[in-house]
Symmetry: C2
Subunit: 205 residues, 2 copies
DNA sequence: CAATAACGATACGACCACGTATCGTATCGT
DNA sequence: ACGATACGATACGTGGTCGTATCGTTATTG
């Protein structure tokens, strides 16, 4: 039915036009919020639909009406965790890296985000679709921000010409990962120390 | 077989002296082996006693006779994963760090060991006893090896006097963690590149 | 008002894993 | 031989989770 000639209005309009009670956007939000919370608290494996429904104050059917299963729900929840890195100001590599690493550090203090690392490292093999999409959507774009700061530093002459961008990248983000773990949050001075240490190098003059 | 009671074993001898059929050491080995394999394949949450028993060719009771439950079994399995870092040769910091990082890299290619990271970062909060013991038994001693190499470098003058040992440590081990993930093993040249990059520093002269 | 679809609640069957209990059998010390 | 204990196998009860189905109710369109 419908299909209508009013093509110009797009699919959304068509959805709205469906007869019957419309889906509750509030339920959408509550479900995603509950999913994120439970994922943060217990991880992907321990997350279960019935607890999500209970916390969201929603019936199970309301969830299954929207997502076919658990993995798809998790996918939606993770996709909704927006955590943009700050735009580099471009005044100096040192300043930009500090700001980026500070942001990373702060974000990794959030249990939900710490779970993402775990998902990536461990549980990922059990949820391949989820992990692929997560990597593609979040990990690489964020790495690219750091890469571009480093590359620009090389161009401006602030960094060595033979800078190994990839090695530096993994040391920077890795320093946060290696440090953040349950009960041992990374302190605020971490970013500054790491950037200074890496910029100066270990070797004596 | 069973080497008899002859040795001056103390308590062990007393255990041996118990009447009845002695516990099978082969069953011990098979159980631990199966546990490690399943942990490597699927992680801590997916590991279940019944599959361990099946793979080990052992009855469930044989497992429960030895360990009170799943967590204790995992603890024993992880404790049995010996993975010593090589002894630093002490000729140069650069050489020692390369060797240590190469070893770390190679070990992290093992799925079982990759799971350890995940355990540390994510699932750890669900198995606090397990994680505490793991950290204390494996993580810190291994970090200490790297710390001592760095400190010695400062003493010998190979490294800057104001070297930030902790920052360098987390960059080194973190570079491996950030890179190793399911389906994206760290290449063999990684250690060399990282160490060179860190030693030289990013800043232009 | 009638048709339609989403709502919360809840019951259902299937499955899986836990940890316990009980088989008959095998292997030890005495 | 005998008692003791471990062995593999298997059945059991419990509890949790999945995904489906079915309530009566509520909101929206026409």
């Amino acid at each position: 039915m419908s299909t209508a000639g009013k093509v110009a209005e797009g699919k959304a309009a068509e959805d709205q036009r469906r007869p019957g009670r419309p889906r509750s956007e509030e339920a959408d939000r509550a479900i995603i919020k509950a999913t994120r919370e439970l994922f943060a608290e217990s991880g992907a494996d321990a997350l279960c639909i019935e607890k999500v429904a209970a916390r969201a104050g929603v019936g199970k059917s309301t969830i299954y009406r929207r997502w076919p299963g658990k993995e798809d729900l998790l996918l939606a929840a993770i996709a909704s965790m927006q955590a943009p890195l700050p735009e580099p100001r471009g005044r100096s590599v040192r300043e930009d890296l500090r700001a980026l690493l500070d942001a990373l550090t702060e974000q990794s203090a959030d249990p939900a985000r710490a779970r993402e690392f775990a998902l990536l490292l461990g549980e990922g093999s059990r949820y391949p679709r989820l992990m692929d999409r997560y990597t593609q959507t979040w990990v690489e774009p964020r790495r690219d921000v750091i890469r571009s700061v480093l590359r620009r530093g090389v161009v401006t002459g602030e960094l060595r010409e033979d800078t190994d961008v990839e090695a530096a990248l993994f040391m920077l983000v890795g320093s946060v990962m290696a440090r953040s773990r349950y009960g041992d949050p990374v302190g605020p001075g971490h970013a500054e120390r790491v950037v200074d240490c890496l910029m100066a190098g270990l070797a004596a003059r």
